[in-house]
Amino acid sequence: MNTQKILETYIENIIQIMTPYGTGTGFIIDDLIITNSHVVSGLKEVVISAKKVPRTIASVIYDDPYFDLAFIKYDFIKPKNPLVLAKQNVEDGDTTIAIGHPYGLNYTATEGIVSRASRLQGDLEYIQIDAAINPGNSGGPLLNETGEVTGVNTFIIQNANNLGFSLPFFYLREALEDFKSNGIENVIKCPSCKNLIEESEIINDYCAECGAKLETAKMRRKGYNPTGPTRLLEEILESLKINVTLARRSQSSWRVDKGTARIDINYYENGIIIGDSKLCAIPSKEIDRVYDYLLNENEKLSYLQFSLNENSIYLSYLIVDSSLTQKEGKIAIERLIEYANKYDDILINEYGATKQKRDEED
């Protein structure tokens, strides 16, 4: 099969994984989503999305910093063409395909060859490949020409060209067998003694078997705790009955969809918080009338303002972090969400403005 055919065949198996710290890739094997441990960043919950899975929260039930693997549980519909693990090791020069979401570019497949079938890093073997993989590819599958999973794309050498490394499928098979034979969810693999430790048995983050300090246990216990204006922003979103975990795009950005409108809230390093809704694009006729309308509305609006960037109309709320309060922030953001949808409809229906195009999984 060629690369495009492989992507089309197995696309339902490919998952995008999002945490406040970044995004990565996962893939379905049996009833689990496989990814890297570093993608889930020591969190118990992550946000996932896929072709047939809308953006949703899923639980990380296995975290293995030793193999850099994590398993996520989610009750998904079984893909039409499920991925399976390869039966034999790759060899130098084999054609190989990496699938993932590099830099958030959904479902990107890149082809290359196995540069070296077994490259030792520490005490683990890795498959060195020259297929381009980038941040966001982590946790994605490495496939052979028949579409079998030969590895989990795990790391690259920074600032080098096409030096990618995949964890071979046999480590994944070993981890899956151990996990399944154990039959317990919420386990951490101790990177020291390699035993699977049930999270509920961990005291003060020490491995119950060998006494090693488990950093992953500590991170899972603590979870993600925003502070300062970020926390206040999340409290405001919660008070508006928005699921903050789903809305969160990073530690300092959130997205809310309402009707035809999309609202992005970003907190910048210079202390400015900008809630922006990129509404429709300006129409091709009677544009003067639209400008008049937007300028007139700006007189009536408080907290919000209309602006134009390139050809798109924006409705925005800007505030400096030190001025943000729960009460006023709630009014402003609630208004932004409600008005963005309302104005988008008015501009499209009454002024002939053009609806924005969006990637379906964006």
Partner: protein
């Protein structure tokens, strides 16, 4: 020292130079700012605003410039703030601050102007363009819940600077659309305009003659100094507004931002622009001038270190030209250094005044024509040594209360020639100590 120096009396100069306020801030500015912060803490909102606005009033010889006019009663405080072509009307209650500047009549605004207004909104942080029944305005709204003087300063500054800039831009780009609320602008008298016009013609003529003295090859760097120096000089000494200012600042900005363009091409661009300036009739030229009150400086504060680095680098360039026997360009670079600094750096008042003194010495003919202190006789090539020393000492002593380690450098100045004088002056500026103890 000439004995005539003793007979000179100190002249007052009523001409404005450079951008920004160039006026003295209130003597109790810091105290007013602190009182404002305390009043905001105590939720005495109107008092807080009054202290804050008073801290922004600037002075000339202890007389208020009336750049902000405040009227207050029990429940509200209204103010008018001037910033060049912009007149800001503010209304403050216990709950909020609302301020606006009227730009143009809505009916006269073209589709391009309205688009520009909406595009500008995307760049602003606190303010936005809007229209009421009659006008397009820039507005600012802030609630007072977490207000402090710092939190009023930046929004108000954004409103004032951009209202001024946008009004000037409108005149330059949309000349058919008349500006509103400009009755506070004071036209320059004919005599001053004529001096400015004649000076511009003279400078460009001298520049063209100077270009001919440069070596036929390897002269792009020298040409750049000549062209940029005259543009900075026009900006600081003539202070044009509207179209000349807009074009001139764009030319300068393009020159420094277009890193991939060849220097020859950039020089050619400036040459063409200067030719256009030279071709302006007196009427066209005169349209671009007015006097106005200012509240905020358009340039953000720069560090003294940044200024010193620029001076050091420039002196290295001068040494290179000297060593390579291109001495004809050296006076231009000494002139360029002062004008460049005044154009680009948000300097403290001491440096600003000291650089102005140097500019007055280097451009004595222009200052003499305007009946302003000039400190140098171009024909005799002689310095008004005593007046220069007195002037430098006065500037320093005026600021010693704030900068305790500031010491006058008048005894370090070298009056042998203009080049030697400029060198000693810049070296002395670099050694000033602005530590606030």
């Amino acid at each position: 020292m000439s004995w005539l120096d003793f007979l000179q009396t100190k002249k007052e100069c009523h001409v404005n130079f450079g951008r920004g306020t160039y006026a003295q801030i209130a003597k109790n500015e810091e105290e007013l700012f602190t009182k404002s912060a305390e009043a905001f803490e105590k939720k005495e909102v109107l008092d807080a605003y009054e202290y804050f606005l008073k801290s922004l009033i600037n002075f000339n010889n202890s007389n208020s410039n009336e750049n902000i006019i405040i009227t207050r009663d029990e429940e509200k405080l209204d103010f008018v703030l001037f910033q060049g072509s912009a007149k800001i009307h503010g209304h403050i209650t216990e709950e909020s601050l609302y301020a606006e500047a009227t730009l143009v009549k809505k009916d006269l605004a073209s589709v391009a102007l309205k688009r520009k207004a909406l595009e500008r909104n995307y760049q602003f942080t606190y303010i936005n363009n809007m229209s009421d029944a009659k006008y397009i305005k820039l507005k600012l709204y802030q609630d007072n819940i977490t207000m402090s003087p710092q939190k009023v300063f930046f929004p108000l500054r954004e409103l004032a600077l951009n209202a001024d800039f946008d009004k000037e831009f409108i005149v330059s780009e949309f000349p058919d659309c008349a500006l509103e609320e400009i009755d506070h602008l004071v036209p320059l008298d004919e005599h001053e305009l004529k001096i400015k016009y004649d000076s511009l013609q003279k400078w460009i003529k001298e520049l063209n003659e100077k270009v001919l003295t440069l070596p036929s090859n390897d002269n792009t760097g020298m040409q750049a100094f000549l062209y940029l120096n005259i543009l900075f000089k026009v900006d600081y000494l003539l202070v044009p507004r509207y179209k000349i200012y807009q074009k001139l600042s764009r030319k300068i900005q393009n020159y420094f931002s277009e890193e991939n363009a060849a220097m020859e091409a950039k020089n050619e661009e400036l040459k063409k622009y200067l030719l256009k300036l030279q071709e302006l009739s007196f009427e066209e030229f005169s349209f671009n001038f007015y006097n106005a009150k200012y509240t905020f400086s358009p340039i953000d504060k720069s560090s003294f270190e940044e200024f010193c680095n620029f001076i050091t680098e420039s002196l290295i360039k001068i040494r290179w030209y000297k060593n390579n026997r291109y001495t004809q360009i050296i006076p231009t670079i000494y002139s360029y250094m002062a004008f460049y600094s005044l154009y680009n750096y948000g300097l403290n008042p001491v440096l600003k005044e000291l650089l102005h003194t140097l500019v007055a010495i280097q451009n004595a003919d222009f200052f003499t024509a305007l009946d302003c202190p000039s400190f140098y006789d171009t024909k005799k090539e002689s310095f008004a040594k005593r007046t220069i020393i007195q002037n430098v000492d006065e500037i320093i002593s005026k600021h010693q209360e704030r900068y305790k380690a500031l010491v006058s450098f008048s005894n370090e100045l070298n009056f042998n020639s203009m080049n030697e004088f400029s060198y000693s002056y810049y070296q002395a500026l670099k050694n000033l100590d602005f530590e606030e103890i």
